[in-house]
Symmetry: C2
Subunit: 404 residues, 2 copies
């Protein structure tokens, strides 16, 4: 008789955003006349930029013509895209990342979830708390996280690095020694980040203890301050200890188009074994490339027109961030983030729990946010709003919140 | 110090098609004037059908407009696509598969590789030999296959079910009891299939011993004979023992567009645990949906125009299959497949090894095929040619082979 992977049974509840979706759908069904504004899930709302739409149409036409039709993509992704990434995301910032260290994928969520596969089951992971739930959940599915304590909402083998207002959301080196360290910077959900010299300390620490940093830089396009690194490879020595995951979802609005990439430097090794080769094997065995037309759309992100249009798109969302941040401050909330990230992180009023505040906001302002506790135990008492709505809705949402 | 997943180190060589790609590239570099014809990897060559191109353009336009832009897709895939699949692939054939038993993905290769994750590490897998390498490799990466014997080219914990000319390529129930049984029908690489009553015996067997059949039906559109099932759910009792994986790559030319789906019936359980719920959790945690525009392209596959156009496309490839099969027979080869599948499976001449015949064909006819031994030890002495080339090239390739 077959048996299932019973690690799945240890997972608490369902995936955070599925739970939110169900709650919102139930509220809408019970209140069909209510106009709900969604500032919850980090999903963009602005249409794809014209340069991207043009690239998509062109690529679709190629697929309809026998002379230009493309079947299976190269394992790592098309060279035209990997070259653009290597040059513009890395070489321009002084990072020596080569095209064959870049693996194009269907998105950062897949890569974030899959990257743990190339590591031993015995590896201990460290995560910022709160953080994007996929890091812990994917390791839990692989049996790497021990047992779950439902009261504490913590796994026995996960090393949690609390990031709260008390430490300015800066994680401290943990007391126990981790093997894999997940850093998401700018951070989801707190919207905060580290100055480059602090990140350098993490790189030095990882090299010293022999750990790998899984660096999720999905929000790098939102960095506005000069002393913040856009890539971990701006730190010296990162190529021997860090894997970087990037997304096109937030810098170019690809949440519905699906494109991302992961950088695994060739210098990153475990003894003689190259992690680049391991990830290449995983990629080649269990994945068959991102769609050609989507890779062409990705290339357009790096074109001159694309860059100019996306700069405006990001400015649009960051104007929303300012509306949210200023509005919440006016209403008396304690607020973080929103400067180098599209997320605003607030303390719930009067010691309300995160889920109580979620219900309060949904029922009384018809605004959807994300409960901080959904991102980890230290997120309890906090709440996330995103700047990805459209401007008019964001303004209306804040008016409603101020009126509460 | 972090450790890697050392199951990866047990994997022999590299992924089959990567190896072939490298060999072909080296030959082409050394012989730049040679016109190589590729009948190796199962990659289509005909452009996307007009109905699909139209659907893509329409969806791209939607993504460029704020009112119709779509971000993250629903976890399981868009309802418009799941409804079309449920109705046309299943309900029309009398299979009671509901839309919420269908999970849309970025392709059958990903699903084939990932599905093993929801099962226990202790599960023993049975595979037809020869077969598509992803089933064994993905289980090897998860540590489920024991140790690899390089001489025999076999894993100690894999149950191999030889399919050779001696048994008409029909697998027999294995002596040892498997937990997971991979069946790919019509078969890749042999191009053969089972009559429906034989498949029913496998369903009864799986239900009797408590095994799950992972049924890869990627080539069902090529079935031309009436007594062959298009879906395993045409067999009674399959909903309690079978997961079915489908692809848009071969029936609609989506190899470069990436779309597939997996059916996990709600009646498929391990004790009280629903495998549908486990796969939903995996899907929701580590995947973020296929692109909206590609799902619209998938919908067009089921439209009246799409169906008519794709019928012609399949007829085009099956004409190639006939050219290959007849040509090889004329040249004195022993040939199988090509009737219900786009693959032709031949015995190598004069007891040549599969890889020797690969080199022979590449060097002397400049034709690329796939060595049978790459699909498993019982594939040794066989060779696969695919019908996915264009017609003129296929005719020329066979002329060259006949002239050898």
């Amino acid at each position: 008789m077959f048996q299932i992977n019973d690690n799945y049974l240890k997972l608490p509840g369902s995936y955070l955003f599925s739970t939110i979706g169900k709650k919102v759908n139930a509220f809408q069904a019970a209140n069909p006349d209510k106009d709900i504004i969604r500032l919850g899930i980090g999903d963009v709302t602005q249409p794809l930029a014209p340069a991207i739409i043009e690239a998509l149409h062109r690529a679709v036409d190629e697929m309809g013509n026998a002379d230009t039709f493309r079947g299976y993509a190269p394992d790592l992704g098309y060279e035209f895209l990997r070259n653009a990434i290597a040059e513009q995301d890395y070489q321009k910032r002084g990072c020596g990342i080569a095209p064959d260290e870049i693996f194009v994928s269907d998105g950062a969520k897949s890569d974030s979830g899959n990257i743990q596969e190339i590591f031993s089951d015995g590896c201990r992971i460290a995560v910022c708390d709160p953080v994007y739930p996929v890091y812990v959940d994917s390791n839990a599915m692989a049996g790497r996280t021990g047992t779950y304590d439902a009261d504490k909402e913590m796994w026995s083998r996960v090393i949690y690095m609390p990031c709260t207002a008390e430490n300015d959301f800066v994680p401290e080196f943990p007391k126990e020694t981790p093997d894999l360290i997940y850093l998401c910077l700018p951070n989801n959900p707190t919207g905060t980040t580290l100055p480059k010299e602090k990140l350098q300390e993490w790189v030095d620490y990882a090299n010293r203890i022999g750990a790998v940093i899984i660096y999720d830089a999905a929000y790098e396009a939102y960095i506005s301050e000069n002393n913040v690194a856009h890539s971990i490879y701006e730190c010296s020595g990162a190529e021997t200890c860090a894997i970087e995951i990037r997304s096109f979802s937030k810098n170019a609005g690809f949440t519905g188009l699906r494109l991302g990439f992961t950088v695994v430097p060739k210098a990153l090794k475990c003894g003689e074994v190259s992690l680049n080769a391991l990830w290449a094997r995983r990629h080649g065995t269990k994945f068959n490339g991102a769609p050609y037309i989507v890779q062409r759309a990705g290339e357009a992100v790096y074109s001159e027109a694309g860059r100019a249009q996306l700069k405006e798109q990001i400015a649009y969302y960051m104007r929303n961030a300012k509306v949210i941040k200023d509005g919440l401050k006016d209403a008396g909330y304690t607020v973080f983030g929103g400067v180098n990230a599209p997320y605003i992180w607030l303390k719930t009023p009067e010691g309300m729990s995160s889920w109580d505040f979620f219900d309060h906001l949904l029922e009384n302002a018809n605004v959807v946010g994300t409960p901080g506790s959904g991102f980890g135990p230290s997120g309890e008492g906090y709440f996330r709003l995103t700047a990805f709505g459209n401007y008019e809705n964001t303004v209306r949402a804040l008016e409603r919140i101020k009126a509460l």
